[in-house]
Amino acid sequence: MSRRLRMWVLALGLAGLAALLGAACFELPDFGGDQHPYGDRAVRAALSHHTANVVSSVNFDLRALDTLGEESILFGAVLGTVVLLRQTRDERHVEPAPARVSPPVRRYALYALPVTLVVGLYVVAHGQLSPGGGFQGGVVAATALHLLYIAVDYRALRRIRPVGRYEVADAAGEAAFVVLGAAAMLGGSAFLANSLLPYGEFNTLASGGTVPLLNAAIGMEVASAVVVLLARFLDQAVEIEESPKPPSTPTSRE
């Protein structure tokens, strides 16, 4: 296909997209209007299940199946990263040298680490009450651990981060979500339906039925997934290096 023809195909596609988007925009309700049919129904459903954070109710109750899909995407992505970024035969493992860290950086990172970790865990624990939840808090808690890499060096981070256990926790979080969904089925309801537990008192930690449990499962899965993901990237950036090619095996085709 010549360059000219390709440009024509591109122009045709862009024109079609622009026309459709333009037509769709004219049908949209006005920005900031007070008619929110889906929002009203979601709020009503969330309140009937005593879940204070409506977004968590949508994520872990009304549309929990969608969340299972998203969680599986993250799980699959991390699995792919683990497979792709493993140490191959022509690479060698280099022990990272201890690095010198300037004292202000070290002090800041060591103070920020516990605070960030607690904030992350708080956000996970209060997912059913206030903005945030397993996903947001999980990422925060996982990145908090990596402040140790900034404060000290890679070997210190490696010591508090046994990757194998985080891989197990990642799989356990994914499995817990499915098991909780199946448990609802065994209880005589639909998959992932919020019917197992009493809804509890509105706006307390133990409210919302299975929402806090599913939220915690997501928190565990996401935090472990991010730790494993960053571990693979850090290994590649810090530890794994190409072996110098042995001269006895020429690979050139010339």
Binding site: V123, P131, G132, L230, F233, A237, S252
Partner: protein
């Protein structure tokens, strides 16, 4: 007042997004991407979507730039194991992409 805030944050998002495209060095791009995440988080907060803002802050501002810089570090670490005279001074992302490609081609023995 609300509208003014929305317009200001939208302009900030547009400016930082344009900067993220215009900057060509991948490491600087990661930093600008972090800034874009911050402005997007502000925009979502102004639009009363704090859950999305938190996700954006955690993933867009912290995680993605971190993964990018780690990837760049890995790519830059490669050349100095070979003596092909590329000391890692890459001026453009297209150029460095070309460098990676040629390095990969060398790898395959072409």
């Amino acid at each position: 007042m609300d509208d003014v805030l929305i317009v200001i944050t939208l302009l900030l998002v547009a400016a930082s997004a344009t900067a993220a495209v215009a900057v060509r060095d991948p490491v600087r791009q990661a930093l600008v991407l972090s800034l874009l995440g911050l402005t997007l988080a502000a925009l979502f907060t102004v639009l009363q979507a704090p859950d999305v803002a938190l996700s954006q802050l955690a993933v867009g501002t912290a995680l993605t730039p971190l993964l990018l810089t780690l990837a760049v570090r890995k790519v830059h670490r490669r050349p100095h194991t070979r003596d092909d005279g590329r000391g890692g001074e890459t001026t453009g992302s297209t150029e460095s992409a070309g460098a990676i490609e040629s390095a990969a081609a060398k790898e395959r023995g072409e």
